[in-house]
Symmetry: C2
Subunit: 300 residues, 2 copies
Amino acid sequence: MQNPDWDIFRYVIAVVDSGSAVAAAERLGVNASTVLRKIAKFETDNGVRLFEKRQSGYRPTAECATIVEEARKIEQNVMAINRDLLGRDLRLEGRLAVTTTDSLLVSLLAPLIEVFTAHHPRIRVDVSVTNSRLNLPKQDADIAIRASKMPPDTLVGQRVSGLVFAVYAPAVFADGTSDDRGQVLGNSRWVGIGQALSASPVGEWMSRNVAPGQIAMTADTFVAVRDCALAGIGIAVLPCCLGDTSRGLVRLTGPISEMDTSLWVLTHSDIRGAARVKAFNEFVTRELRAKSALLEGAGV
Amino acid sequence: MQNPDWDIFRYVIAVVDSGSAVAAAERLGVNASTVLRKIAKFETDNGVRLFEKRQSGYRPTAECATIVEEARKIEQNVMAINRDLLGRDLRLEGRLAVTTTDSLLVSLLAPLIEVFTAHHPRIRVDVSVTNSRLNLPKQDADIAIRASKMPPDTLVGQRVSGLVFAVYAPAVFADGTSDDRGQVLGNSRWVGIGQALSASPVGEWMSRNVAPGQIAMTADTFVAVRDCALAGIGIAVLPCCLGDTSRGLVRLTGPISEMDTSLWVLTHSDIRGAARVKAFNEFVTRELRAKSALLEGAGV
DNA sequence: TCCGGGTTCTGCATAATTGCAGATTGAATA
DNA sequence: TATTCAATCTGCAATTATGCAGAACCCGGA
């Protein structure tokens, strides 16, 4: 006796308004059989005859009238929901969850987000900083901006630029001559990278080129590594976009190709089709490409 | 961007009210996967995040609120429809389409319908008299009361009693003695049955036992045949329920077993589950069974 | 009187949905 | 700290709904 499937009322309205099941089917974008069968099922389930099935079409009975009356109210409510959804989308408002690493946020993204939110005041950007690998399940973000040689194919997106790494020293270690630099590189202690990133290109380069005894400490985010290097603990590998923009650090080497990787802007959200997602995606991609010189280490 | 499938709002409400997808699934009587997937599909299609998917359950977002608000109005409207349908059913009102033959209507059904409608004043019984065979497609009736040896299995129902036929003569032909009866039977002309019923047991008996030259005329309903017999045109085969209740006719024979058949009350309507259909069905079945003596020719 | 265009309706093959069972996760509890 | 429990997810299989093509039918007009 219960009546699930509220969708039936959409069919009832269509049949009443168009006069026949085939016309209703065309309006609804389904086959005429579907309309016939859905109406028949509703009549069987509820013990009411909504339409006289004439050869000239489906003619609503008197009992149909009260149902249609309520169904039209439902239609109004659904249209209100659709207007709300569509309008919100067109007006570019809502929440936008972005995940990235702290180094990218500090060096590049923060000013971009500032510009974006100023331009779209009704969009609120929620940044989640996670330095762990991006293959964590249950990605709760709409957009991910991450460094990777190849992103997992569960995420879709585009490569924005290269991302290179170099060795940096606190300025107090070196006066800037190349002789000094070589000496510092050989003799200094290091600020290493945490275990969570030991499998990354940077971690692997470190394990090959830096003896364990040289490592004074590790930190598990590049911003933390930089701050420790700035404090004079040692020299460190940093992404050039972070190292080159940090006052108080000098670059000791050029970009080291073994650590080269790429920067990706990725979307795997349920709502990747939303206008605000597209807007942010396009904006960030364009701006980051414009700054590819910094990302690819051409700054020095 | 459009949003078909109004049924999704039923799911949204259930999830909001019960706090998790599994609880909503239980309330809705479906599997939890169905709820998860329907919500996910809606979010993907409309670019909106309705719920935060936490381990502790689905928590509605701010954007969900306006949708739920409208969805609750929809729920009110659907409940109004359900109340209307259920109420109408319980109050036993509405239209009830009955199809039968004129002979059954005249001899038995009319007084039964009178009692039924007096007892259920809000039910309107629409009788459609069709003497053609009952295998006509597109049976537009809720209940059919018909004579048949075996009803087609597309119709469901129950056998009410036997239905027997005998030969009747207008009273002016015979004074009632058995001698007279034999003489009348052999010498009179006949009122035959129309071609539409030639394949029925009655039609076959006629073709075997009555010479074509004896047939003065035919009519295609038994009531018409009876009226012509009453007018003195000839003798005729009639169902006993009709012949025995017709003043001015005398039965010449006992029930002729070759023409025996059964009386069925059948329902194949879309709305056979409706209360008024059941009520009429039970009433008619009970009353006809009480009169089975008449139907089976015990009246003489 | 026959024919054409529209309809409803029905098998049948395919596509989509659903249920089921397991994997995974997070949090609360002993 | 381990462990139990309830929740979200995800392949796979079975069920269900859908589209397609044809049959049957009615109505109007040449």
